[in-house]
């Protein structure tokens, strides 16, 4: 039976992650709580809006209302890495070689490990940023498409066009596909080798959470009363294929998805705080957490693949141990 070790905090959880196997919970007020032989806290931003896990450096990078970027580590430090003046930093991503990308207003910034910061100005607001898995390349979600920049090299960016407002972005783990979330209830994808479009629509709500399954064979998404899992193992991605619908419920929307690190299993968080795990092959479900106080906003599996840290919009966070 899975067991839940709860951690009741006060406020919206922006990110629940493991840093050096220690569960960390970053809240919208900028405090980062960790369960390391007791409950400890460090203050990062004055108002946190975005956070990204950086597995290579076992740190959480955060951006916020104060226009600053922080790096939080398991040793309880929160170090300021950079900023964007008075503008809110609304999106952030961690990349290879210690690079961090963040968006503020109409600019995307890339901070390299040596501290140099490059700015990429856009005509419209930078809504989302992501790093490609290899090389130093970022993708920016923007109005009417996405832009790919190469921060280490001079040269023109690659523009990917699709009408509408694109609010978030992710690269497939093999680097072959770019997928954006949109203001309307849909995802859009591009196959980078030939620019082919992929329309993934039919969601009843906006998609706010995406997670790639092991080896990038599937992309799980929120935005429906089930986790919608698109097949990406074929050459052309999900085109012409129906997605899996896992953990379907009649009474609650999925708000967060997090794929298992090595198996084709996804942890599914719902708006009422329930968490299920579902296996792709046979759609078998296991209840991991009963409904709580708020919508699940963030989840992460640990390296042992045994625990899941989760956070909610109401602050009732915790750690699920599936093997206990």
């Amino acid at each position: 039976m899975p067991t839940v070790a709860p951690l009741d905090l006060d406020g919206h959880c922006v990110a629940a992650v493991f840093l050096n196997d220690i569960p960390h919970f970053a809240l919208a007020d900028g405090s980062v709580h960790r369960l390391d032989h007791g409950h400890k806290t460090v203050q990062a931003n004055d108002g946190m809006l975005a956070a990204a896990h950086d597995p290579a450096n076992q740190r959480l990078v955060t951006g916020g209302e104060d226009g600053k970027v922080f790096a939080v580590k398991a040793d309880g430090t929160a170090v300021e890495l950079g900023g964007a003046g008075k503008k809110w930093i609304t999106s952030i991503a961690a990349g290879p070689q210690g690079a961090v990308a963040y968006g503020a207003g109409r600019s995307a910034f890339v901070r390299l490990a040596d501290g140099t910061i490059k700015e990429f100005q856009h005509a419209r607001t930078v809504e989302g940023v992501a790093f490609a898995p290899r090389g130093l390349r970022i993708g920016v979600a923007r109005y009417n498409g996405a832009t790919l920049h190469f921060p280490a090299a001079e040269g023109k960016p690659l523009e990917l066009e699709w009408a509408g407002a694109h609010t978030g972005i992710t690269f497939s783990p093999d680097g072959n596909f770019v997928v954006t979330t949109m203001q309307e209830n849909a995802l859009h994808g591009w196959k980078l080798s030939d620019g082919k479009h992929m329309r993934m629509s039919g969601y009843p709500a906006k998609v706010k959470s995406l997670s790639w399954a092991v080896r990038g064979r599937w992309l799980a998404s929120s935005g429906a009363p089930a986790a919608i899992v698109w097949p990406f193992h074929a050459k052309d991605g999900p085109m012409g294929k129906a997605p899996l619908e896992l953990g379907t419920r009649g009474d609650a929307m999925v708000t967060c998805v997090s794929c298992h690190p090595s198996q084709e299993v996804v942890a599914i968080g719902y708006e009422d705080g329930m968490v299920l795990a579902a296996r792709f092959a046979d759609q078998k479900e296991v209840l991991l957490r009963r409904p709580g106080k708020g919508a699940i906003t963030s989840m992460m599996w640990d390296r042992e693949e045994r625990r899941i840290a989760f956070g909610s919009a109401a602050g009732d966070c915790g750690v699920i141990d599936i093997a206990a």
Binding site: G11, H12, V14, A28, D29, D46, G47, L49, E65, K86, K87, W88, T90, G105, R106, R124, T125, E127, Y143, A163, G164, A165, T167, M182, Q183, E184, A205, K206, K293, G294, A295, A313, A314, G315
Partner: protein
């Protein structure tokens, strides 16, 4: 559950450059009115007050991918409201300041079209500041100045000390010609009573009617605002302003308002009609407001709309002796008044 708390009221402040918007904003931020405001502005620049809750945001108009050109939202507002609402205990209300040239429609529509924003906030009122001295000039060179007035629930007619009583009367008549349903307040140096601007519930038609039961009733309006003549009477005969005594003031007005009156409506006819009208004429309709009496329905039905978006609900039972009358006001451009009137009347349960 913190997310389920009462929706936060949002006031939208529009007004052309120099209309006194910043002065009013500074008053709202500095006066002791017992409420804490989060303010979304385009530039910190002119606001002389230090406040953590002033958020600088680039106006981003996003067209929705649904083939409708008037279905636009403010993308930046969606993001900022989402961020603010993650820490809701910090403020009681939100104020959105638009740039002088802004079209107010995308701001208003954001509060209806985005499900996240809609679930956490409610549009309280669109307030337009108007420079009494320069309005005639503004109307000559900008469609936006007119749109802002047409859109407003509350018009603050500012800088009245810079005009003669005659000029003021003309300007007010012009405002009334553009928007017969807005509340108008004459002020100097933006010194309007803040209670007349904030927490009005003007977009909540039920409350708007409680506050001002006659707000769709043009004759009552005449009294309340002490009009000498004004083009208020426009609502009944829209060609009237051609013979008006102050043609120069009204000349640059391209917005028209059409007031329709009828008896009890057949809901089976009315709803498809209003849907069709807003679908087809949506781009030309800036605002619509109405009170509808349906046959065999004991309750008054109130509705209002922005472009193609229409919302309606039952308000309260008809009072004893109250006339079961339907009234609908369209504010827009290039609307065929006669066709609207005929098709509206055809929705009556007992046709004329």
């Amino acid at each position: 559950m913190s997310e389920a708390s009462a929706p936060i009221p949002v006031t939208v402040l529009t007004g052309y450059l120099g209309s006194g918007k910043t002065t009013l904003l500074n008053r709202i931020l500095s006066e002791n009115h017992g409420k804490r405001y989060a303010v979304i502005v385009n530039e910190f620049g002119e606001i002389g007050i230090d406040n953590d809750l002033i958020v600088e945001s680039d106006e981003e108009i996003y067209e929705m991918n649904n083939g409708c050109v008037c279905c636009t939202v403010r993308g930046d507002l969606i993001r900022v409201v989402e961020g603010l609402m993650r820490r809701p205990g910090r403020f009681d209300a939100i104020l959105v300041e638009t740039t002088g040239l802004a079209d107010p429609a995308p701001v208003a529509q954001t509060f209806f079209m985005d499900e996240d924003v809609r679930s956490k906030t409610r549009l309280d009122a669109v307030v337009a500041l108007v420079d009494a001295k320069h309005l005639p000039l503004r109307l000559k060179d900008s469609k936006e100045a007119e749109d802002q007035i047409a859109f407003a629930d509350v018009v603050v007619l500012n800088k009245t000390d810079l005009v003669t009583p005659e000029e003021l009367r003309d300007v007010e008549a012009t405002v009334r010609a553009i928007n017969p349903t807005a509340r108008i307040h004459r002020t100097q140096r933006s010194a309007v009573d803040l209670a007349e601007v904030l927490d009005r519930g003007a977009f909540d038609l039920k409350r708007a009617l409680e506050n001002d039961p006659h707000f769709l009733d043009a004759e009552e309006h005449d009294h309340e605002h002490d009009h000498v003549c004004g083009p208020d009477c426009d609502h009944d005969h829209e060609h009237h302003h051609h013979d008006h005594a102050h043609p120069a003031a009204i000349h640059d007005v391209t917005v028209q308002s059409i007031s329709l009156r009828g008896g009890e409506m057949d809901s089976k006819k009315f709803f498809p009609w209003i849907e069709k009208v807003t679908q087809i004429e949506g781009p030309n309709i800036l605002r619509l407001k109405g009170i509808i009496a349906f046959k065999d329905d004991p309750d008054r039905y109130v509705l209002q709309g922005v472009h193609m978006i229409v919302e309606g609900d039952h308000q309260r039972p008809w009072k004893e002796g109250e006339r079961h009358e339907s009234r609908l006001v369209f504010i827009g451009r290039d609307l065929d008044a006669e066709r609207l009137r005929k098709s509206f009347e055809a929705c009556q349960a007992v046709p004329n």
